[in-house]
Symmetry: C2
Subunit: 203 residues, 2 copies
């Protein structure tokens, strides 16, 4: 129990430092110093800096996945089947934005530093990120098939939308002009609009 709380605290401090200075620019000593403990004490809780990064990135991957599950399962299904692609894309978008705004420091590390994972972990995380992106793609494919969305390229559209959502880590500020809930609404609109569109615009 104490162990868990201490590890969580290490992750908090490390997330903040990784976000500010980058993973490569942060040492275990920096993390220990920011916690006002000795480096040796830190090693009682974590094996390495890479171990801390892995924990942060995996925790966030799980949060994004669970939030997406909950968002979809929480939608009112129509009598005839699943919720509409529009409702599902809006729900996925809102869920993603909520995780980013709720844990901005870890989300920033997830977005900017997952590439700093060692090759094996990085390859596994790349697959997990692909699977997550496929959720967006599948909804867009459904929307295109049902005629609800314009004939876009679902792969390009999903990548466009998801990277836009991740970009939020660069500008969201908890004390900023726009509240997290407002941004979730705005981004859900932008994502759905990008997918819905019409075939005439932009040409």
């Amino acid at each position: 129990m104490v162990e868990t709380a201490r590890r969580r605290e290490i992750e908090d401090v490390a997330s903040s430092l990784f976000r500010e200075r980058g993973y490569a620019g942060t040492s275990v000593r920096d993390i220990a110093r920011a916690m006002d403990i000795q480096g040796a004490s830190l090693y009682a809780h974590v094996a390495s800096k890479q171990d801390v990064l892995r924990a942060i990135v995996e925790r966030m991957a799980s949060r994004f996945e669970h939030a997406a599950d909950d968002a979809i399962s929480g939608l009112p299904s129509e009598d005839t089947g699943d919720a509409t692609p529009t409702a599902r894309l809006a729900a996925l978008t809102r869920a993603h934005v909520e995780v980013v705004t709720d844990d901005l420091e870890r989300a920033t590390v997830f977005v900017h530093e997952w590439r700093s994972l060692e090759p094996d972990l990085r390859a596994r995380m790349a697959k997990r990120r692909d699977a997550y992106e496929r959720r967006f793609r599948a909804v867009i494919v459904d929307g295109v098939e049902s005629g609800e969305f314009a004939t876009v390229d679902p792969t390009a559209a999903a990548a466009f939308i998801l990277t836009a959502l991740n970009g939020l880590v660069a500008w969201y500020r908890p004390d900023g002009r726009l509240a997290a809930g407002t941004i979730a609404d705005l981004y859900a609109d932008l994502a759905v609009r990008a997918a819905v569109g019409t075939d005439e615009v932009g040409r």
Copy 2:
């Protein structure tokens, strides 16, 4: 002349390494080794690794700015004034995608590593990036005022669109399924659709 070609070659090699291993994970020695020369010879051409990063990031910032200038000035103006916000947003988007796809390695370094610039340079680059983002925002403001775009938050919409465009560095492959020109078209559609929308969708 020779000096310029050599520096350009150093930037090419460094861009490739920075993209693959990150700026922090690359040494001047790595760059020299990849060019099959001595580290000391490299220092005849560049002052430091930071000097190379600065050159790459500034070159790309200039390319993005000039491409945006050309995209707007190349639009046919209507008799009554400037090109429409829709045409301008599509042109800005296409120009951005073209720079990314034309120089993927430097663009990746620009997007992922500009934060690795030393504080003074980083602050100046942040201002330059803001000014660039304001071009997108200004077009969206115009479109909202003219009624051509839905009542979105122009700041959020510009950030959404621009980070989506930058996200292309993560998935564009010169030998991939989608040609650069196709992606430029798809992304212009997605950006314009996100901005145009209607007030009903996504709620």
